[in-house]
């Protein structure tokens, strides 16, 4: 039993590492530096400056924080979406479908290596925010910050899996990724606080990942007690987990669908 578990862990680790290296199109120094390190800087800088000079420092800080978090989403989602897209494009996914391997392991292995990239993108973004809009960390509880960022990063990665499976099913990365990025920018409170949304849009925004996590982060920076924010953070994690499950169901559906239709061939 222990041996089987260990074998499973080794297999999962190898799948994760090898699919990451084999399918992540930005895993070269130009792609990685541009998208994981420089892009968050540029985006945070852009919105920080817009906020600072168009409205004021307070708004700019909120924009900067939102963009730093959105940077996590961008890199996790695109990395995972690429993995699924190229797995189909390169014709390797069908060789997965003739194995009797554990499909949960196959599914999860495609996302896990993108989690560190998400965290790195956040670090780059928040550092830029500290430089440009003077976000104050002096009184901040670093333990809570790390916890919240980890939860958001995990939630983003789980949502990225869902988007990845949509990309696999539709065989379309660019449009799905572009649309999702836009929706997340507009509807999760990155720019416009969700409290300003009309009723139905507000409820929809709460169903999206990142919304609740960003609220927690914003409240923390405003000095709120962490004990009042557990519920929101838990909701963030549950939201991400729900998308993870939906993504898995989509993954299983896709395998059955292509066996029936022959679409892969």
């Amino acid at each position: 039993m222990v041996n089987r578990l260990f074998d499973g862990i080794v297999s999962f680790t190898q799948q994760s590492y090898l699919t990451y290296r084999g399918l992540f199109g930005w895993l070269n120094w130009q792609g990685y530096i541009s998208n994981v390190l420089l892009r968050p800087v540029v985006v945070v800088l852009t919105f920080s400056l817009i906020g600072r000079f168009a409205v004021g420092l307070g708004v700019a800080q909120r924009f900067a924080l939102g963009m730093a978090v959105l940077g996590m989403f961008f890199i996790a989602m695109n990395g995972i979406a690429q993995s699924y897209f190229f797995d189909r494009q390169t014709g390797t996914i069908k060789y997965l479908f003739i194995t009797r391997g554990n499909r949960i392991s196959n599914y999860l292995s495609r996302g896990i290596c993108h989690l560190p990239n998400a965290i790195l993108a956040f670090i780059t973004g928040i550092f830029t925010a500290w430089l440009v809009v003077y976000i104050n960390f002096e009184w901040f509880n670093w333990g809570y910050l790390i916890l919240v960022v980890m939860v958001i990063a995990i939630s983003m990665t789980m949502f990225g899996q869902f988007i990845g499976v949509l990309v696999l099913i539709t065989n379309n990365w660019v449009h799905i990724a572009g649309l999702t990025n836009s929706i997340m920018m507009v509807l999760t409170g990155v720019i416009i606080p969700i409290g300003r949304f009309p009723g139905p849009l507000y409820e929809f925004a709460k169903l999206l990942p990142m919304t609740n996590g960003l609220l927690v982060l914003g409240f923390l920076f405003d000095g709120a007690e962490f004990s009042q924010l557990y519920g929101l953070l838990l909701r963030e994690l549950i939201t991400g987990f729900t998308y993870l499950i939906l993504g898995y169901l989509g993954f299983i559906y896709f395998e059955r669908h292509v066996r029936q239709t022959g679409e892969l061939h």
Binding site: Q15, L18, G22, L96
Partner: protein, 319 residues
Amino acid sequence: MTNAIECINIRRVFTSKTLLKKKREKVALENLSFTVKAGTVFGLLGPNGAGKTTTVRILSTLLTPTAGQAKVFSFDVVSQLSEVRKRIGLILGGDRGFYGPLNGIDNLKYFAAISHLDRSNVKKRIDEVIELVGLTAAGQQPVNQYSRGMKQRLHVARGLLTDPQLLFMDEPTIGIDPAGAKELRDLIPKLVERGKTILLTTHYMQEADQLCNQITLINEGRIVAEGTPSQIKKSFGKISIIEVIVKWGAVDTVQKLAGIEGVNRVELSSDGVVQRLTIQVIAGVEVKEKISAVFGNDNIESMISRDPTLEEAYLSIIQ
């Protein structure tokens, strides 16, 4: 002897929609039934689009049949996927199917991981199959730097990785140089000696003739001939062959020969000072006297009848 494969009335229809959303159906396989005995090499031959690869995909659980039943070692390919997948290896070939940025060995490590190959055996097995296909020197190179032939070899390595009981080889020698192709063909009998069963699809008739114990010819999704290579050549070929060697004048007589009733085709080749004609004749039609009359008996060095080669029989059946 157990059956490695049983196909009973397999039907496969592909559905698509036109721009005007009208349903369009293509029948890829119709009423396909055959069995493959364990420990043999079975050839599935046919022209492009005949349904060979569709058959392989159904048997390897990549596709479900629209109707009918297929079994691999008595396990149903639709309802007992796991048992079937435990026993099969698949070689589809082509330029795709690997992670380009990874080297050959890392690709095989990935496929070993998803196939749940015994962890203690992985390195040894990868080294074995890499050496078997002649890619030891290139194992550390990224696959996106491989030639077409090298990728094909890697496909073969992947198919053999789990040491399967049944191996589907879909045109395995395509794109490989003659020496490599010969090595691969020499490997097949060795695999059979070790108890493997092989279903081979190929366009190279000599390969099928050399390797297969049993052959089924399909065309437009239906079986048109089946049997051993000899049976197909003798019984199903609609032609017989007359080889004539003459001293001179063959070039001028090709048209005259082609005009003889019962003659399908005439091919001319030179062999030093003599000229050789290969005349395809409808089976059962007697034309030797007429051929002799065209050349004159003094001109004919030899005239022999022979059975068609598998390629000649195949062409006469398919066309």
